[in-house]
């Protein structure tokens, strides 16, 4: 089964995934109109800055067992048996933040949402774009990511590719770097900037 795979070394910090995510979870599904919606849609993926100001797309790992699910006293958090996605039922959520305290990655936020009861803040996090995927689309963040930091693929395939890349990069007289030269340069520049 395909899933979203994060390749942090390829992130250029453009934050386009955040905009695409918010639009994908708006009522209208269009950027221009989404900006005028109430409640204003919000992203479920969050780009943070690393030690060298390199980007890092932070999103729900859909852990198994999931600490958030174990911590949810209201029973609002459940796992979709088919996709293994951890989901939150906005009607059952009591906004107690237990899940956020339990989450090791800090990817659960609390705000109003188009699918939640009006006027009620609920716990919101990545749903693996289940609505888009059921329509035959790929998750919005992977569609918009230009640098390949977020991909939608079989985990086995991703790992095989990663292994091949690493293997090639460590062999003597390696020609292909694991990270494309332009991205490596960007990362190097950021490091130098900070050391100055």
């Amino acid at each position: 089964m395909k899933q979203v795979v994060v390749h942090p070394e390829r992130c250029v910090g453009c934050m386009q995934c955040m905009v695409a995510c918010a639009v994908a979870h708006s009522s209208s599904g269009q950027l221009y109109t989404a900006l005028a919606e109430t409640p204003r849609p919000r992203p479920r993926v969050h780009v943070g800055a690393g030690r060298y100001n390199e980007g890092f797309p932070n999103r729900c790992r859909h852990c198994d067992p999931a600490p958030c699910m174990l911590a949810c006293l209201a029973g609002a958090i459940f796992r979709d048996e088919h996709t293994r996605t951890v989901l939150i039922d906005p009607d059952k959520c009591i906004n107690c933040a237990s899940c956020a305290m339990a989450c090791p990655y800090g990817v659960i936020r609390f705000h109003e949402d188009p699918v939640a009861p009006p006027g009620k803040s609920v716990a919101v996090k990545c749903d693996n774009c289940d609505r888009r995927v059921s329509q035959g689309l790929v998750p919005a963040c992977t569609e918009v990511c230009k640098s390949g930091a977020l991909t939608y693929e079989e985990m086995d395939e991703a790992m095989r590719r990663k292994t091949a890349e690493v293997a090639r990069s460590v062999s003597a007289g390696a020609e292909t770097a694991a990270v494309p030269p332009a991205l490596a340069l960007l990362a190097a520049v950021k490091k130098v900037e900070l050391s100055l």
Partner: protein, 648 residues
Amino acid sequence: MATFENISITEDARLLLQKTQSDGVETVWQRHDAQQPQCGYCETGLSCRICVMGPCRIDPFGEGPQRGVCGADADIIVARNLCRMIAAGAASHSDHGRDLVEVLAAVAEGKAPGYQIRDEEKLKRVAAEYGVTADGKDTLAIAAELADAMMEDYGMRRKSLTLLSRAPEKRRRLWDKIGVTPRGIDRETSEMMHRTHMGVDQDYDNISKQFTRTALADGWGGSMVSTEISDILYGTPTPVAVDVNMGVLKEDHVNLIVHGHEPNMFESMVESCNDPELVKAAQKAGAKGINLVGMCCSGAEMMSRHGVPHAGNFMSTEAVLATGAVDAMCVDIQCIKQGLVAVADCYKTKLITTNRRAHIEGATHIEFVEHEPRSSTDEMVIQAIARFKTRSIPVEIPQISNPGIHGFSHEYINYMLGGTFRASYKPLNDNIVNGRIRGVAGVVGCTNPRVKHDWVHVELTKELIKNDVLVLMTGCAQIAVAKAGLFTPEAAHLAGPGLAEVCETVGMPPVLGVGSCVDNSRILIAASEMVKVGGLGDTLAGLPVAGAAPEWMSEKAISIGQYFVGSGVYTVFGVHFPTVENTKFHNLLFDGLESTYGMGKWDFTADPYDMAQKMIAHIDKKRKELGIDKARERVLMDMASRREMDVA
């Protein structure tokens, strides 16, 4: 990629795109597809690359940063981005105009052989507006003085541009009051660039004034100068029947396309293509002759003046090469896709850049020089003949061409409506007052792969004429609608009963083509004439008129839009508008310019039917304000009642 039915309404573009795909050639549509999804920060205008403390982005959904490194907020970032678009657009039109001023000066000095003053009457008329008197002077002396006076319009010595005198008095006073009267064509662009530099004008309302002033310097300056000198040098357009579409290419002829914007090179090309020696050379190579065809705005200029056939608009320039029939495509400036190089290479077409300002890597460059025009254009024709001789690509020309009447300059509209006896805009105003014509719309602008090619133009125009709105068109919009066959007098049956009646009486199409994109200035002049003739109020903002650019893509389009808005015209754009709804700057453009400053205002919708409804609603609102929304009772006047009339 979207299916071929969804990307264009024109049969030939679809056929040829299918061909490019099977030939493995990439066109604008594939490249547009490869860019999807496009960056949301840039779409909303919320990214700023003005200084290198950045780049900065404002998160429109509120989670991320709300200010740039310098502290700039969403309003000023969006405003600066649009302001810089205007500066680039105005600079493009104005630099085009500058080239024409230089040719006029060179003609006056006798340094531009092959060029001449074709419309002396217009030269004298325009010269008089610049305070250059004609008495006893010969034509070239007047031309020299006029060119000199126009150069001053580009500089910093004037307090206001000369041609602003054409605008109604009330509008000029308003511009003075707000402080947006343009002073020098280049000065305003330059000041716009300064004000948008890091840390200068950071009040969205104040910067909007320079936004307007720069655009006005384009519409009433650079663009208008371009149009007027083009008419003086190459003749003022009068209606002419022209075929439009790819069927104008001829398999057994040497086909030479000119694409771009300025008429200077194209005019010389007309002479080269008619040179008996070169025609003979073409015949010797096995061709029946040389077939010169225009595209884009170069084509629109030449179509209007000389009836040169037109092969299609901006979205068709790559597709046309797939016919294999194009022996040379000679380009000058603006809207020339770099992607043409690869397409031309595949179909062995000679792609020739001609302008010192616009080289493209991979194309052949033959520089066009005004004081020796024929030397370069002759060379281009020779290259085209050479390509014809060695044609190795199978030729497939979609046999579709659409005849139409083009070339309605503001001078001709004046003549057409009143004849030589009393040439005037009065009949137009009368027909607006009596309701046969509901109002006038300008539908202009580019084509854009983000929307179905030509579809928005054609549907909008049909909807407008059906509702008795007379439509004036320029540039690529004009070509789109010409391909749909609306430029014939017979198309009057698609118009509402009132407009159809007027079209039948005058013998004109319900849609009037006024030229290239710099010729949008003709629409400003026509609208000002309507005000001066009287009966429709005393200001441009009061007229029952509206503007639209339904498939726009370029910075020039934003500049055109704002000079219409600044002149008092309600203007709707399609495709996409790079602002964020409900922000202060957006609200200023879409409301405040009208309610606070008495200008026109912007509007946006991508849907042609919605766009038509918005424009018609605005026209009806203005009719109501003028008190001409209801049929008036006709009163039979006898002599006694005439004597009682208060004749002011």
